[in-house]
């Protein structure tokens, strides 16, 4: 069934410790329960990276939020599994070296942006930001000579400075780091919530962090995961029972665990203490819809 996937993982077997110390994560769409196959993996190794061949019907990993209920996640196109895995690899490699943490924020024009680059001192950025505000706010009166050229200069200036503002205000805003843990992965991460403007962006970042192959710094480099770590991560059976979707939850200031996405973003920011990417099978009591869905899923597997 498996093609040339590394480590010879077979259907239903989770004790896959690949020889190349590679693993790939994918989670299975709830609408294809029969093909559920989950392999957990983090690929830190580079150059000879090989992906598992995931069974057909599996799609990219996704983390669910309250938005996803009750509507079911649409099926992934039944394209060959290798292409879906390899395109995730490509994406990972593309970002290699420049986008390693959740701190990086996409620039206004869409190119990826890196923390602390270009190397401009915070003092200067702050100064430019407030000048942008000034230029935008002030109208220059027509008693000035060369009024026309001035306003056009002002426009030209504000264009650049607006970007200082858009970007530096994101970066220079106080960070709000919270811990994120994903079930089955012993290593927690941290994410800066203030670097994201919406739930969608946050989920995307978390998916990149936890579910996609971890980008390496240098395709020719040498870091691989140790075997010991593999063992830790390769937690078995729970991932196999088909309810392998993941749900994003958070602990609020009162210590309750809630499903992410129900309240307005700003309100979420003010009450979140930490995040947990939970297996839906564990996410009981969070939302009635969720429970119901779990129940449906489980019964399919019996």
């Amino acid at each position: 069934m498996e093609g040339s996937g590394v480590g010879g993982s077979e259907s239903g077997s989770m004790s896959t410790v690949s020889r190349e110390d590679n693993m790939v994560v994918s989670s299975v769409d709830s609408s294809c329960p029969d093909e559920s196959e989950l392999e957990l993996g983090l690929g830190l190794s580079l150059g000879g990276f090989k992906t598992h061949q995931v069974s057909k019907g599996a799609q990219f990993a996704r983390i669910l939020t309250s938005k996803d209920f009750p509507s079911v996640i649409p099926d992934a196109s039944p394209s060959s599994s290798s292409s879906s895995s390899s395109s995730s690899l490509t994406r990972a490699n593309v970002t290699a070296g420049t986008k390693r943490t959740a701190d990086s924020v996409a620039a206004a024009n869409g190119s990826s942006q890196v923390m602390g680059w270009p190397p401009i001192r915070a003092y200067r950025m702050n100064s430019m930001v407030s000048q942008a505000k000034y230029l935008a706010a002030e109208g220059f009166n027509s008693t000035m000579e060369n009024h026309k050229s001035e306003t056009s200069m002002v426009e030209k200036s504000t264009a650049g400075f607006d970007r200082y503002q858009n970007n530096s205000s994101i970066k220079l805003r106080k960070s709000l780091f919270v811990k994120v843990n994903m079930d089955g992965i012993p290593i927690g991460r941290k994410v800066d919530l203030n670097a994201h403007e919406s739930y969608e962006k946050l989920v995307k970042t978390l998916e990149d962090m936890f579910l996609k192959t971890t980008p390496s710094i240098n395709p020719a480099g040498s870091t691989t995961l140790e075997l010991g770590m593999m063992k830790k991560i390769t937690r078995p059976s729970k991932l196999l029972d088909g309810s392998s979707d993941f749900v994003l939850t958070y602990e609020d200031k009162e210590g309750d665990w809630m499903l992410v996405g129900d309240v307005p973003w700003e309100m979420f920011l003010s009450s979140v203490k930490r995040l947990r990417i939970m297996r839906t099978s564990e996410a009981t009591g969070l939302a009635p819809r969720l429970e119901e869905r779990n129940h449906r899923q489980r019964s399919k597997h019996i």
Binding site: G97, T98, R100, T101, A107, A108, N109, G110, S111, Q113, V114, M115, G116, W117, P118, P119, I120, R121, A122, Y123, R124, S127, M128, Q131, Y134, L135, E138, F140, N141, M144, E145, N146, E150, M153, K156, S157, A159, G160, R163, Y164, N167, S168, K171, L172, K179, P186, I187, G188, K190, I217, N218, A220, G221, S222, T223, T224, L225, E226, G228, M229
Partner: protein
């Protein structure tokens, strides 16, 4: 015979001779000659510079140098400027002030860079040092105008208060009123970083008016254009002036008044500030331009032809800081007008935009290098570069001591040949034999490091980002750069091998910063174990580094030599690798 001669000098003669020796390097050399000289020297050392506040404890300094009058300390790693060092990392000055308050009652000068200074520290300074004269807080943070009020009120002989680029909690402009009416000693006042909208202007005016020795005054943005003329008229002896706001909608006679005020300052050589500048008021400066040696327009949003008009009037200019609005055409004007130029810094007006909207290219820098052979220091942000341009620059400016090039998009190749920029930077290090500081950018392979290791023998500080292919790159630098003191690297594929092979080198340097590279936790542990005189600090904001296997790369680490062992003020996200291979926290 010679021995007799040496001991025949009484101590105070030796001391007198030593008093002519000012540089730290020379002083250190003197103290190493013999025990006697060590003793005499240490009692008469008045100035101490400590490049890393954690390299030595205050007590050790005080014990060796009991009569210090002036101290300079630096705290956070340089990359803290770009938000790469998390908040709370350290660099607190209070422990130093506390120790010095007891030991150095005659302390006169404190200069700090990248340190955390609290109001408590400032109050302690004001209370403890009766003859305190100079306070320079460069890029510091943690204090408010309340602390400044304490300094103003308490330091009766204050000469210099310079807050350049510090982050001050600006609670109110009233702190200026705390300078007593008897204070007439100010020589330098730099409050340009203060943010508040109100400044006690009348207090400022009076202060300026009663300090006849005031040579340097840098105002903040709260001071509007119409007020500048008044200030200048009270201080026509000013040599260095930083305007506040340079925008106004006032009637045209303000321009005349301002022009008159500027022209009355016959000593004025240096100008800065120019926030929110309205070009119509620039002609007020024209009378000063011919004398100007330093001009900082890097916050001024003016464009050509205004920049060209200004710069062309400054034939004596030695130092220019400007935004990329100057464009290649402006740099051409600069090259033909300012033959004495020694330092040029061009900052990006739009660092995050994808496409450049100003026509500033490698050509501008080439033109300046051809026209201004005295150039020593370059900082240049641009979008594209070629090897050929770099070679020309290198050959035209052999006196360069500082060269920092930032091509905004990481890993940008030579845009004409599509090759890496190894050869270009290689030319820089080969031709500029006195190069002390270098920052790299663009597409670079291990080759550039080979050049650097081979030629850059005087290089003291190197900044590297998104460069190199393998450990060989790092090895070239650590092995070849004999004068290297500070090395900071981010996002490069450098791992354990080069670092461990050159471990001994690290003790000859002040510090090494590496982030987003591939150095493993195991290597950091090993270094900490084997090199007791190095503090190996791993920075990890997610988990303790030993919760992962040893082969996992660490996100950030900072290694520095120290005679005082690991520090005790570490935040939770910093771990020191100690001699027993444990991680200390």
């Amino acid at each position: 015979m010679q021995k007799k001669m040496m001991y025949s000098f009484p101590d105070d003669v030796l001391e007198h001779v030593f008093s002519f020796i000012q540089s730290d390097k020379d002083r250190n050399a003197v103290s190493a000659v013999c025990k006697l000289w060590y003793e005499i020297e240490r009692w008469c050392r008045r100035k101490v510079f400590i490049g890393n506040c954690y390299a030595v404890s205050p007590r050790v300094v005080i014990k060796r140098f009991p009569e210090v009058r002036s101290i300079e300390l630096k705290g956070k790693p340089h990359f803290a400027d770009f938000n790469l060092v998390p908040d709370g990392w350290g660099g607190y000055v209070l422990p130093w002030i506390v120790e010095m308050a007891g030991a150095y009652p005659c302390l006169e000068e404190i200069r700090l860079k990248r340190m955390v200074v609290t109001d408590e520290s400032l109050e302690l300074i004001a209370k403890s040092f009766k003859n305190f004269k100079v306070l320079v807080l460069f890029s510091c943070e943690g204090f408010s105008t309340d602390g400044l009020a304490a300094i103003a009120a308490g330091c009766k002989n204050l000469r210099e208060l310079d807050l350049r680029e510090s982050e001050v909690d600006d609670l109110s402009g009233h702190w200026l009123t705390h300078f007593p009416e008897t204070c007439t000693s100010l020589v330098s006042l730099n409050i340009s970083c203060l943010g508040s909208d109100e400044v006690s202007f009348s207090a400022l005016e009076r202060l300026v008016g009663r300090c006849p020795n005031l040579k340097s005054l840098r105002l903040n943005r709260a001071v509007t254009l119409d007020k500048i003329a008044n200030i200048l008229r009270r201080a026509p002896q000013l040599v260095d002036f930083g305007t506040g706001n340079y925008a106004s909608e006032l009637p045209p006679d303000v321009l005349l008044n301002l022009a008159g005020a500027f022209s009355s300052c016959k000593e004025l050589k240096s100008l800065s500030g120019f926030w929110d500048v309205v070009p119509a008021y620039l002609p007020a400066l024209y009378s000063v331009c011919s004398r100007l040696t330093s001009l900082n327009l890097s916050y001024a949003t003016i464009q050509n032809p205004e920049i060209i008009k200004l710069v062309s009037r400054c034939p004596s200019l030695q130092r220019l800081l400007v935004l990329d609005y100057i464009e290649d055409s402006g740099l051409e004007a600069l090259a033909s007008s300012c033959k004495d130029l020694q330092e040029l810094r061009v900052f990006p007006s739009d660092p995050f935009g994808g496409e450049p909207h100003v026509s500033l290219t490698e050509q501008g820098l080439v033109t300046v290098s051809l026209g201004c052979p005295k150039l020593q220091s370059i900082l240049y942000f641009c979008h594209r570069m070629t090897n050929a341009a770099l070679v020309t620059i290198a050959q035209s400016c052999p006196n360069l001591t500082r060269f920092r090039l930032c091509i905004i998009e990481p890993k940008t190749a030579d845009y004409l040949t599509l090759e890496p920029l190894d050869v270009g930077f290689g030319a820089i290090v080969e031709h500029c034999k006195d190069l002390r500081r270098l920052s790299l950018s663009g597409l670079l392979t291990d080759r550039v490091f080979e050049y650097i290791g081979t030629y850059a023998k005087k290089l003291e500080m190197l900044s590297v980002a998104f460069a190199g292919d393998s450990d060989l790159g790092l090895h070239h630098v650590l092995f070849g750069c004999e004068s290297l003191r500070k090395l900071e690297i981010r996002d490069c594929p450098f791992g354990d091998k080069a670092l461990l092979a050159n471990a001994a080198k690290l003790e000859t340097m002040r510090s090494l910063w590496m982030s987003s590279c591939t150095v493993s936790f195991g290597a950091c542990k090993l270094l900490g174990q084997k090199m007791p005189r190095l503090n190996v600090e791993v920075i990890d904001e997610t988990e303790p580094p030993d919760s992962r296997p040893e082969s996992c790369p660490v996100e950030k680490f900072y290694i520095y030599r120290s005679v005082s062992g690991p520090r005790f003020d570490k935040p939770p996200f910093v771990w020191t690798m100690d001699e027993e291979g444990k991680i200390m926290h």
